[in-house]
């Protein structure tokens, strides 16, 4: 039952959405395999997926630090200038006595995106070095996969656009350095999720486990 790395063997998988057992053929790069019954994407194969993902994750960490170091937008009216960084968005809620909203914004725009980038680098390096401490890496990767939906930086970018338009006729808006780093970060995060198939990592973690 254990999955094998040899490409002539078939891997038995159950579809997560409909539980149908099916044998997956070894796919070539650029191909995707869907469940025959419900159409769920079971596996996608990207060329050199681990290396590329690691590169994107490392770039992501750098851009994340840059995006958080400076204000991404500033507003000047009446001779007063107000600026906002990623952190001050959640800080504003805290100061207005809305701790639940502050925590929600803090986790979805800073903590989860950062943890997922750092965690991804740790997992990918461990897998690449073939030094896998399964008791550590597997729960970490599980955590990353289950909190994936809660990192909402791309939603935040749309919100920035809406806010800029809403304020446009009220005051002068200056886009900061962080804004460009932020946009680049969104692109890198998208490329990361496109290049990595979690199944590749699980396959590595499954090696040597008797089932």
């Amino acid at each position: 039952m254990s999955s094998s790395s040899h490409c002539n063997s078939l891997t038995l998988r159950a579809c997560p959405d409909c539980d149908l057992l099916q044998e997956l053929p070894c796919s070539q790069a650029g191909h995707a395999i869907y469940c025959v019954r419900c159409g769920h994407l079971l596996k996608k194969t990207c060329h050199d997926s681990l290396n590329r993902s690691l590169a994107f994750a490392l770039t992501g960490i750098f851009l994340f630090i840059l995006a958080n170091s400076f204000p991404f937008i500033s507003l000047s009216a009446l001779g007063i200038e107000q600026d906002s960084s990623l952190f001050s968005a959640s800080w504003a809620f805290y100061q207005m006595d809305r701790p639940f909203l502050a925590i929600l914004v803090l986790f979805t725009t800073i903590i989860f995106p950062l943890l997922s980038l750092i965690g991804m680098v740790i997992v990918l390096i461990a897998v690449k070095m073939k030094r896998i401490q399964r008791t550590l890496i597997a729960p970490l990767f599980r955590f990353l996969m289950s909190t994936d939906a809660w990192g909402m930086l791309e939603v935040f970018l749309l919100a920035v656009l809406v806010a800029v338009v809403k304020l446009g006729d009220m005051a002068d808006i200056v886009i900061g350095v962080s804004m460009y780093a932020f946009i680049a970060l969104i692109i890198v995060l998208t490329l990361l999720s496109l290049s990595l198939d979690p199944e590749d990592v699980w396959q590595e973690l499954r090696k040597g486990v008797k089932q």
Binding site: A14, S27, F100, L101, R142, A159, K166, W202
Partner: protein
């Protein structure tokens, strides 16, 4: 679709459990004592053939979201103070302001993210729960697809919360112009979070368990 298939059998019918996280297949022990948990040998998560109490949990979260949906739309999500006078804004009024400003593409995006998506989530999840409760035989492929779409778009409803966060952080010019978050924002955020959890605890495999083909 490139998958080969020997026989149409689910993991459960074959006596296997697929790990919810890493998808490893594990043999279900023939005799299992109650209250003992089975752990995945690969990722050490607790194994279940189906998410335990999936329908109960999803219904509870959905009901809570339905209740909070009312204050989320009635109460102001933010109060804009401009030259001393305060003006409360609900979600719908926010969309209308964008429309009045001639920003219809953006108004459309906010309308879809803040009004259409939450309603769609509440309706689709309720429909799925009811269809399973009454063992509906209606197109399981479409129902599974609806579930996947709903799970994918749910997070985009957060856009309004982030807009308020940015506006509150930026617009603090005392009595001249200030923006404060309202209780509607809190309720709306709770609706988004609760429906995301509800979608997460829903097990789409239950749709297929009911099918007798």
């Amino acid at each position: 679709m490139k998958s080969s298939q020997r026989n149409r059998q689910t993991a459960r019918e074959a006596g296997l459990i697929a790990c919810h996280f890493c998808h490893s297949l594990v043999k279900m022990p023939r005799q299992r004592q109650e209250n003992t948990e089975l752990h995945c040998p690969v990722c050490n998560s607790v194994l279940h053939s189906r998410i335990p109490y999936s329908l109960t949990k999803t219904s509870a979260l959905l009901l809570a979201a339905l209740f909070l949906y009312v204050p989320a739309n009635i109460l102001p999500i933010m109060t804009v103070i401009f030259q001393g006078a305060g003006q409360p804004d609900t979600i719908m009024q926010g969309v209308l302001h964008l429309l009045e400003g001639g920003m219809w593409p953006l108004a459309l995006i906010v309308f879809v993210a803040s009004i259409v998506v939450p309603i769609l989530k509440l309706v689709v999840l309720s429909g799925l729960l009811i269809s399973i409760r009454f063992q509906s035989q209606w197109n399981p492929v479409e129902r599974t697809r609806l579930y996947r779409i709903m799970e994918f778009i749910g997070r985009w409803s957060m856009v309004d919360i982030f807009v308020i966060a940015i506006l509150v952080a930026l617009v603090q010019f005392g009595n001249t112009a200030s923006i404060f978050p309202g209780l509607g924002a809190l309720s709306f955020a709770a609706v988004v979070v609760l429906t995301m959890f509800a979608a997460h605890t829903f097990d789409p495999r239950l749709i297929w368990d009911n099918m007798h083909d």
